[in-house]
Symmetry: C2
Subunit: 219 residues, 2 copies
């Protein structure tokens, strides 16, 4: 029997937040990620723990079990494959696909996803530059560095973003800072990483907050 959308969203949130060593995630971090109350999170952590998808001890945080990790990774795979479909096949823009994929990722059918993956040509990255896990849960890592950490004079290519909210991506569209663009840093403020850079002949100013969410492959 499958999981509910809510259970799946929690697993995905825990995976996203568990970058740390042992991968333990706090109740409040999950609540913030899912924009829900800490009390709701506690309830759900008990349920997921009963189903052995996470390990959880009161007051000690949660981490994914192997089963939980596998399920969460599959959700990420589905989310990102659908995003590729929406952009590549349907011609939607990178700023409008995340919310839709947030629903599509819950469609239940392994066969569907394998077919979709095949149809799309086994893409390795989604429209935001995030890696797509394969059917075995493995994915490609790339050397990348936040734009905010580049020194004046350094050059590179935009290969990803760390944030997929519509407002952020629309902002980048307006600045012309989309995937694949070549950039060169002119100045980078020591204090708050306010940047000026060169993109396709134009000069551009960016806040440190924005620059920290743009990932660069240096050239």
């Amino acid at each position: 029997m499958g999981l509910s959308y809510a259970e799946e969203n929690y697993l995905k949130a825990i995976l996203k937040l568990s970058g740390s060593p042992d991968g333990t995630v706090s109740t409040n971090a999950i609540a913030a990620q899912l924009d829900t109350s800490a009390a709701s999170v506690t309830d759900m952590l008990k349920k997921l723990s009963d189903k052995e998808l996470i390990t959880y001890q009161r007051y000690k945080g949660a981490s994914l079990t192997d089963d939980g990790q596998r399920i969460a990774t599959t959700l990420v795979r589905k989310h990102r494959l659908w995003e590729v479909f929406l952009v590549q096949s349907l011609g939607m823009t990178w700023d409008e696909v995340h919310e839709i994929a947030e629903e599509l990722e819950h469609i239940q059918s392994d066969r569907l996803i394998d077919r979709l993956d095949h149809f799309l040509g086994h893409p390795k990255f989604d429209p935001h530059g995030d890696p797509i896990p394969n059917a075995q849960g493995k994915y490609t890592l790339r050397a990348q560095i936040p734009l905010s950490e580049l020194k004046p004079g350094q050059e590179g290519i935009v290969i990803g973003v760390r944030e997929d909210e519509t407002s952020f991506l629309k902002h980048l569209n307006e600045k012309g800072l989309t995937l694949g663009k070549s950039i060169k840093v002119i100045t980078n403020d020591d204090y708050d990483n306010t940047l000026s850079l060169q993109v396709e002949g134009h000069e551009l100013n960016l806040s440190g907050k924005v620059a920290r969410n743009i990932m660069i492959k240096t050239t």
Copy 2:
């Protein structure tokens, strides 16, 4: 604010069942269609009535309002477009797409559906031969007659099925009776419409129950 999946499924069921003159549908008919209890149906009819998506009087059945009709028709459009996608683009078979489309139809995004429609080339019929409403809710009707009503000697082409359950469609696959096939009736039992017919050189026997769910365009 959007409707829940349950509310949408009820609207779709009412549309499907309201072929009659005024289009009034009984509580039990809906319960049977959705495989749920009559008590649950009554609860939901009250809710949909409050939202003015149906007209409903106790003990008198329900019918769609214009708003309800519009929403239900859009759901049918989405369901059938997704079925076309699954078969045409992903190469799935007509017997495995209905259940998946039952979920996909609830994805919320008008823009997505318009893009999908465009991507698929504005198809007029789904993989079961059912017409696909356009964005305005209009669809093409075709002259068709149940195979069970053909007389011995009559010929035609399979242009649709009235039932999209997997088991039924798999049965047709085994018999080689798929969309587009040419058939010729040899015998048709007066009492129960047990048929024998000619398909691609082979002779085939069908129960009346099956024959009543296969739609033919006579030639």
